[in-house]
């Protein structure tokens, strides 16, 4: 999966964080030369360009990546409210824009919209459920945007459960799907790991994983009920 191009480099920290949290793969470029140098074989799937105090520089960058050898179709421009007027007659430089400083939810919505339309998602596979987000590309999980420190098996178990919200799994199923059939520990291992996961999720979120009496465990609730 190719990275999104982000200008300038370094990107504003709040943008970097929003992209990371959203599970987007991205790479910063300080000028057109570095954008050209780092271009993936199939071209950049999209770009996020920040027009800061001097929008002209950002416009020049947009112009370079929308014409000639690079040619990035999907460009999202982040622009200061005070500079909105300067967008007049420059519609050819971007596919969409977003007011800067942005609201993370709005940014996320525009990124999804733009890059789904562009057909090539630069988005790592992410599992989201309520306060929990898991980035399957980087093996990182966050709860309410705070990183969870998980061991490998805790991560795998949470990933499996969170991929199937509302479904009840027996210990045996979890054992064979998460640990593999040849694991020696027995179904007790599942209880031990569920308990460990709950203590790491913290009291407030421990009930994301429910015990289903004399059956097994389930995660959250299905979106279909």
């Amino acid at each position: 999966m190719d990275a999104l191009l982000v200008f300038p480099e370094p990107a504003p920290p709040e943008l970097a964080q929003a992209l990371d949290m959203g599970g987007w793969v991205w790479k910063g470029a300080s000028d057109i030369d570095s954008a050209r140098r780092d271009e993936p074989v199939d071209g950049w799937p999209g770009a996020v360009v920040v027009a800061g105090t001097d929008p002209d520089e950002a416009f020049r960058f947009c112009r370079s990546i929308r014409s000639g050898d690079i040619n990035v179709e999907s460009v999202l421009l982040l622009i200061n409210g005070g500079h909105l007027a300067s967008l007049d007659f420059r519609e050819n430089l971007f596919a969409d824009f977003c007011i800067h400083p942005f609201h993370p939810v709005e940014l996320e919505a525009r990124l999804k919209h733009l890059f789904r339309r562009a057909g090539r998602a630069a988005r790592a596979e992410v599992i989201e459920y309520g306060p929990l987000a898991m980035n399957l590309e980087t093996y990182q999980a966050v709860i309410e945007s705070k990183p969870l420190d998980l061991t490998y098996m805790e991560y795998e178990l949470l990933k499996f459960l969170a991929s199937h919200p509302g479904r009840v799994f027996t210990r045996e199923t979890l054992l064979s799907r998460v640990w593999g059939y040849d694991y020696y520990g027995g179904a007790r291992t599942v209880d031990v790991h569920v308990r460990r996961l709950r203590s790491k999720l913290g009291e407030e979120h421990a009930n994301l994983i429910q015990t289903v009496r004399s059956v097994g465990y389930s995660f959250g609730t299905s979106r279909w009920v």
Binding site: Y152, G185, G186, T189
Partner: protein, 445 residues
């Protein structure tokens, strides 16, 4: 590279980990650590980290002194106490010889070997310790008798005392490291606390006990106090043990459980318990390895110096907890002699081996003992067939030395090293003039 190793590499990168601590345990149960940078991690997984073991207790050998630490990727945890700008992680290691065979002086490998042999018989072994410890103002013996932080007692709800706050912080940190705590409370003695861990498979639990001891001490140190697992730090008040609950599973089934038995105990549970009782004297030098451990066992209330079992009898060595109906999975036995100054890897190895010996050879479980054994005379106990545990480290070592079970379980290297080391400790103690002697003899003679 396995997937769990990849996971660790990726997490180290994503979380900006600056230092990875490789943990292992010496024969006496002290935690050791080698720190490596993230850049060395991949080669640590592939080739191990070579180091000279000569300075580590029980690691030195006649010939080559170098060994390899192989990090166990499944144990990777970020350390919650690391500074935010310098995240660090830890992994437990297995120690190998340079040719890749398990190093015979590594307690973790010894427990692995014993768990493997249990597995070949179809069993997984679970343990849950009740760790007792004291908080003192200082750990410096030159300052005289240790000073407790409070005067509270058993289950007291102490509102604003320092030690309860320390205990609370300790539990949060343990939970954050994936070590679930079942109960915790203020124990009998001033500043004495207990933290009970929820059961896990024995290897994980031995790792957890090592982590617990570090976390308890670390949190105390942050507040300029001192926490100790020393078995009997104060005269006249109860000492600290680490009663440990044991159970055996075959897959989903707790093989200690039998709903039709009046005690709820299966044939396997009876034989396992019989094995532990019969070999208890042979393994006491390891479960209670300090000169001081026997001061706790000599007290007359909570510690069980008699080889007997019962459902509700604090003077018995093994307790079989009474369970509510239909709680098959919680069937277990509790071994009450062991203290927190032991090496959990070696102690669990011996408890498992003793129990399984009873199962394999079909030992008969003696009758339950319902009398208070402290109130009987030596002769009365002898007539009931109830032996005392060894009364000193010296006696425990004598019994251990004759034990084939202990030698086979620990392996020759550790068995012999341990006896040598502990004989020396005993000899030093014998030649030492104690405050007891000065107080008693100096004024009168």
């Amino acid at each position: 590279m396995s997937r769990d190793q990849e996971y660790v590499l990726r997490t180290v990168e994503e979380r900006g980990v600056r230092l990875v601590r490789l943990w292992f345990t010496d024969v006496l149960g002290q935690l050791k650590s080698v720190a490596i940078s993230p850049a060395e991690l991949e080669s640590a997984f592939n080739e191990g980290v070579q180091f000279d073991g000569t300075a580590i207790d029980g690691f030195s050998r006649v010939h080559e002194s170098d060994v390899l630490a192989r990090p166990d990727a499944t144990t990777f945890e970020l350390l919650p106490w690391a500074k935010e700008d310098e995240p660090s992680g830890r992994m437990f290691c297995d120690i190998e010889n340079l040719d890749g065979t398990p190093f015979e002086g590594d307690p973790r490998q010894i427990l692995r070997r014993n768990l493997q042999s249990a597995r070949e018989q179809g069993y997984t072994f679970f343990a849950a310790p009740e760790a007792e410890f004291f908080y003192f103002a200082s750990g410096d013996p030159s300052l005289g008798k240790p000073q407790p932080l409070d005067r509270a007692s058993y289950f007291d709800l102490t509102t604003s005392d320092v030690s309860s706050d320390l205990r609370k912080r300790t539990i949060h940190m343990l939970e954050a490291m994936g070590i679930p705590v079942e109960y915790s409370f203020h124990e009998d003695s001033p500043s004495q606390h207990e933290i009970d861990l929820r059961y896990t498979e024995a290897l994980d639990m031995a790792d957890n006990v090592m982590t617990l001891r570090l976390v308890v001490k670390k949190i105390a140190m942050e507040r300029d106090t001192y926490a100790t697992f020393m078995p009997k730090p104060l005269n006249g008040v109860q000492g600290s043990g680490m009663h440990t609950h044991l159970s055996l599973f075959d897959g989903e089934t707790n093989v200690f459980h039998d709903p039709d038995d009046e005690y709820g105990m299966s044939e396997t549970a009876r034989r396992f318990t019989a094995g532990i009782l019969r070999h208890a004297r042979e393994i006491t030098a390891v479960t209670n390895q300090l000169v001081n451990s026997y001061k706790r066992l000599a007290e007359t209330s909570e510690a069980p110096p008699f080889v007997a079992w019962a459902r509700n009898n604090r003077s018995a060595l093994v307790r079989v907890p009474v369970r509510r109906k239909n709680k098959a999975e919680s069937a277990r036995i509790e071994y009450r002699a062991i203290d927190g100054a032991s090496n959990p890897y070696l102690a669990y190895s011996l408890l498992l081996a003793a129990g399984l010996r009873g199962v394999a050879e079909g030992y008969d479980l003696p009758m339950e003992t319902n009398v208070n054994l402290f109130e009987l005379t030596d002769r009365e106990r002898r007539e009931m067939g109830i032996e005392p545990l060894p009364r000193s480290l010296d006696e425990a070592l004598d019994v251990m030395e004759e034990s084939k079970l202990a030698r086979d379980t620990l392996g020759d290297h550790v068995f012999e090293w341990f006896l040598r080391n502990k004989r020396a400790e005993w000899a030093e103690f014998c030649a030492h003039v104690t405050p007891f002697e000065l107080e008693r003899y100096l004024p009168t003679w």
